[in-house]
């Protein structure tokens, strides 16, 4: 039986939580609804919630007047390459750090871990000098290469692999399997949950990455979605508001779908590693 105090507490909690939810999710709802309003209605005072006239004009303009398909494709290419690279390189090193004995292992791990503390701005300027000197400015390689080997992924994969029993690997060794065969055939399939978490986190980080592509992508054909949206909203060639809202929806929607479908793996990953 619930006591009266419990009922009161429950009412209070629901009130606070729903108020919080309105504050957090409200802006997203407003963004989505307003992207279907005519421009004049978006700027009306006081602002409205529900569109009185639904229009797809802003979305149409995104694809006809601006090159949003191109930006979308660029974002996807970069995010897929960065994710694939991290899955491969981080699981290789994570396995070596967790299960193989070799000189320099501990030092290597400490250095990689230490890099988690280094602020992005320390890396930013020399990375730009480096990428420019390699002739990679305004190229996919320049957008992707600095993000292929992230310390976070190594940390995550190593932690996961430490919990894997050694016997399995030993048994395979006794059976005469080579080290690479063991890795591909036995270890990697067992890493699926960790790989899923790392994959989602890396993909999202890359999709939302903003500063580096803003500086490295200098022509329209290499812009990623956030860069294009930022330049159109705060740069020289500002565009009208409805178009911006529709653009924001296009940036957010894929991420939202991935997140809603895979939120279980996602939140578990955050909770266990504490990092995003």
């Amino acid at each position: 039986m619930l006591t009266r105090r419990d009922l009161l507490a429950r009412f209070f909690l629901y009130f606070v939580l729903f108020a919080g939810l309105a504050v957090v999710v409200g802006p997203f709802l407003w963004m989505l609804l307003s992207s279907f309003k005519p421009e004049s209605e978006i700027r009306s005072v006081p602002p409205s919630w529900w569109p009185s006239h639904w229009t797809m004009a802003h979305y149409h303009d995104l694809f006809s007047r601006l090159d949003f398909p191109r930006y979308f494709l660029n974002s996807a290419i970069v995010a897929v390459l960065v994710t694939a690279g991290n899955l491969l390189f981080c699981s290789l090193l994570g396995y070596a750090l967790a299960k193989l004995n070799f000189p320099g292992r501990k030092a290597l791990f400490l250095i990689v871990l230490g890099m988690l503390m280094v602020p992005g701005m320390v890396l930013f300027v020399p990375q730009f000098v480096l990428v420019s000197n390699l002739g990679l400015a305004n190229s996919y390689a320049g957008l992707v290469l600095p993000f292929l080997a992230g310390p976070f992924g190594v940390f995550l994969m190593r932690q996961f692999l430490l919990s894997l029993p050694d016997d399995l690997i030993e048994a395979a060794r006794v059976d005469g399997a080579g080290e690479w065969r063991i890795f591909w055939r036995i270890v990697l399939p067992l890493c699926r949950p960790a790989l899923a978490t790392l994959g989602i986190l890396t993909f999202l980080a890359s999709w939302n990455n903003f500063l580096w592509p803003l500086v490295v992508a200098t022509t329209d054909d290499k812009y990623t979605l956030p860069v294009a949206l930022a330049l159109y909203s705060i740069g020289q060639n500002r565009i009208y508001f409805g178009l911006l809202l529709a653009g924001a929806v296009v940036v957010v929607l894929p991420v939202l779908i991935v997140f809603l479908v895979l939120q279980r793996q996602f939140l578990r990953g955050i909770a266990t590693t504490g990092l995003k």
Partner: protein, 315 residues
């Protein structure tokens, strides 16, 4: 916390000292062949830049030296002394400090409140709230800015129109130097508390239920249980949350870039933004020096938080 655990976990697996023999060589070769791809990329794109940045910070390197990075002049600590004499940098440092000192506790309190409410056992729809609160964390800051600039618009904005309904006249949040930094703090809290909430929820679920039952038998009310049971047992998670949020907030950059461009009157200029601007002006040496000062601040803040929050663990 996490870092120490990891290091310890690594330590007791340290290789036994062995005489170098063919087996040792084979082991080294195998280990490094797995480690090599990552390490090569890491050397070029992370380690080299960290060292290069330190070296650049003691030179007068400018964007015009881009093609000949080694043809620059050594200037010792000039960049660092100039930095602390630079009124704009000092302004940026103060702004960043305010942002961290107000923002970190605010974010932790919001996350703690949400996590405790969801963990109380009285609530259904837990998944809905969890996903909802987490939504801003996975969303592009640029898209968020589009919406928030509109929400905070002095005339057409949702916030001021809601205030008007209760008879209040809201300020021009982002255009008024008195409210601009505060608006950025609130927005950052809104954006980030969800990720801390998830960490705190995991910590809360690790607290044994019988502790609460015992506390109830002893006559402790909800608030007392929170103070005497929940908070002490959550200290490691709180410390961890404070450290990672502190590290993140010290690097404040994207919010002011997309919301205010550092204005008005430099009221939202952060250290990272200042570095970015100096980079834009081509002052690479100077920008690197500022980046290293930020780096040191991050290490110092983390150490301080470990002492303040972690110290009582030793008792």
């Amino acid at each position: 916390m996490a870092v120490q655990e990891v290091v310890r976990a690594g330590a007791h697996r340290a290789p036994a000292a062995a005489r170098p023999g063919p087996r040792t060589w084979r082991r080294a070769l195998t280990g490094w062949s797995f480690a090599a791809p990552f390490t090569a990329l890491f050397l070029v794109f992370a380690l080299l830049p960290v060292v290069a940045s330190l070296l650049m910070s003691v030179t007068d390197m400018r964007s015009t030296d881009l093609r000949h990075p080694f043809a620059v002049t050594f200037v010792g600590l000039d960049n660092y002394t100039r930095l602390f004499a630079d009124a704009l940098f000092r302004r940026a440092a103060v702004n960043t400090a305010i942002f961290v000192v107000v923002g970190v506790p605010l974010t932790i309190v919001a996350a703690l409140a949400a996590a405790n409410a969801l963990n109380s056992g009285l609530i259904r729809l837990r998944g809905l709230f969890r996903v909802g609160f987490y939504l801003p964390v996975v969303t592009s800051i640029v898209a968020i800015a589009v919406v928030w600039r509109f929400l905070l618009d002095p005339d057409a904005g949702l916030v001021n129109n809601l205030l008007a309904q209760v008879g209040l006249h809201g300020p021009a949040w982002l255009q008024d130097p008195h409210t601009s930094l505060g608006s950025i703090v609130v927005m950052a809290t809104w954006r980030n508390f969800g990720s801390l909430m998830v960490i705190f929820l995991a910590a809360l679920q690790g607290i044994p239920v019988d502790l609460y039952e015992a506390a109830t038998l002893d006559g402790a009310g909800r608030w007392q249980q929170f103070r005497r049971v929940t908070l002490p047992l959550m200290r490691p998670a709180l410390l961890f949350g404070a450290v990672i949020t502190g590290i993140g907030y010290l690097q404040l950059f994207e919010e002011p870039l997309v919301m205010t461009q550092g204005g008005p009157l430099s009221s939202t200029l952060s250290v990272s933004y200042h570095i970015y601007n100096q980079f834009g002006f081509g002052n690479y040496g100077y920008a690197s020096a500022a980046a290293y000062v930020l780096f040191i601040a991050i290490v110092a803040l983390s150490a301080l938080q470990f002492r303040l929050l972690g110290a009582r663990d030793a008792d």
